[in-house]
Subunit: 221 residues, 2 copies
């Protein structure tokens, strides 16, 4: 990697001291070159357009336009630079919002300098880098025990249905009427009714909406 052209880096932080620190940090690495700095999100967007960096180190809490919004704006273009969020706050909302906005990294400011540089290189080569606590947050978020067991329970209840019944249940879950289902599955309307009726009784439900909700909990799409 060091034999290639240097990585073009932009630094975005409202605190001049932080920017200076990062600049000095990068100064020791000939394979990384600081091509732009910005003090808020608005400047960041224009700087990204003007200097086409490979990577942007982005703070979140900044005046005018914050880093999350700036990230989304920058990443919405084709061939946009990669964004690594670098902040003191690892609140769940921030992490998810940043990653959804297109960030490829999320580092806390207590990250050792060496690892910040490593993250820049790693993201430049296509990977993603997150601080350990951020990874933990992300895992907890997808692991969401509630959602997991709800799906499992729903699947269990749907387990001993006939193949035909399951097909009908899924179409009910899509919001189709009995007539539509009849057409879709090639059977008569009263037959569909029969299946729906059996579904209600087997699953101990009161109406088709509850069938639909159960199907969605089971994630049969």
């Amino acid at each position: 990697m060091t034999g290639e052209r240097p990585i073009r880096l932009a630094i975005v932080d409202d605190d001049p001291l932080v920017r200076a620190g990062l600049r000095i940090l990068v100064g020791g690495s000939p394979d990384i070159e600081v091509v732009a700095e910005a003090g808020d999100g608005a400047e960041a967007v224009t700087a990204a357009d003007a200097h086409w960096p490979d990577i942007i180190l982005m703070d979140i809490r900044m005046p005018r336009v914050d880093g999350l919004v700036a990230t989304r704006r920058i990443r919405s273009r084709e061939g946009a630079p990669q964004v690594i969020v670098l902040t003191t706050f690892d609140a769940d909302e921030y992490v998810l919002e940043a990653l959804r906005g297109g960030a490829s990294g999320f580092l806390l400011k207590d990250t050792p300098p060496r690892e910040i540089l490593a993250a820049v290189r790693s993201v430049a080569s296509g990977a993603a880098t997150l601080s350990p606590t951020v990874i933990r947050r992300l895992i907890d978020h997808v692991a969401d025990p509630e959602a997991g067991t709800r799906r499992a329970r729903a699947r269990a209840r749907l387990a001993d249905l006939t193949e035909r019944e399951r097909e009908v249940a899924i179409l009910v879950g899509q919001g189709h009427s009995n007539a539509e289902i009849a057409g879709e599955l090639g059977m008569s309307l009263p037959t569909v009714k029969g299946h729906v009726s059996r579904l209600l009784s087997k699953l101990d439900l009161n109406n088709r909406v509850q069938i639909a909700l159960l199907v969605h909990d089971a994630e049969l799409l």
Copy 2:
């Protein structure tokens, strides 16, 4: 960390060669001690009970009981050991299922030996460790633009509803009948019908199931 008692490690893989390789790898690290080995998921569960390791390196594809099921079983107990999944396959399903099952690590088998050891130590000290490609997968999953915008779109459609209409919509989304809604909100049955009817027309839908699905997309629970 090296001054403490050694990390108790269990190795679970159906391939004796892989187990041997890992054993030799760990052999060079005095701070890690292999206390158990297992060749399938069932053995893994009993071994975890018998030897209470701190960390388990777990393969996924194994005869009888696979690593995902074994992970879930082991992690369902109090004070269970941490599990690091170590596999060649990084399919989305595997990653999510493993993390939901309680795994604290997910490494691909092409991970350099040094980093496997680092991951063991890191997880032992409470952090989580994922291979870069796995992190990428995880990010893509939470970033899922579809889910994010679906919620946003659903909210937008529900935005210009009356307060009363929204209340009715939510109860429809819970699977309640019109009569139940009437009781719940203290109005007459025909009134509820009127609201539902207006909901269908305003939202351009065909039946109450679709209202329910929209409410759930908007996450109004």
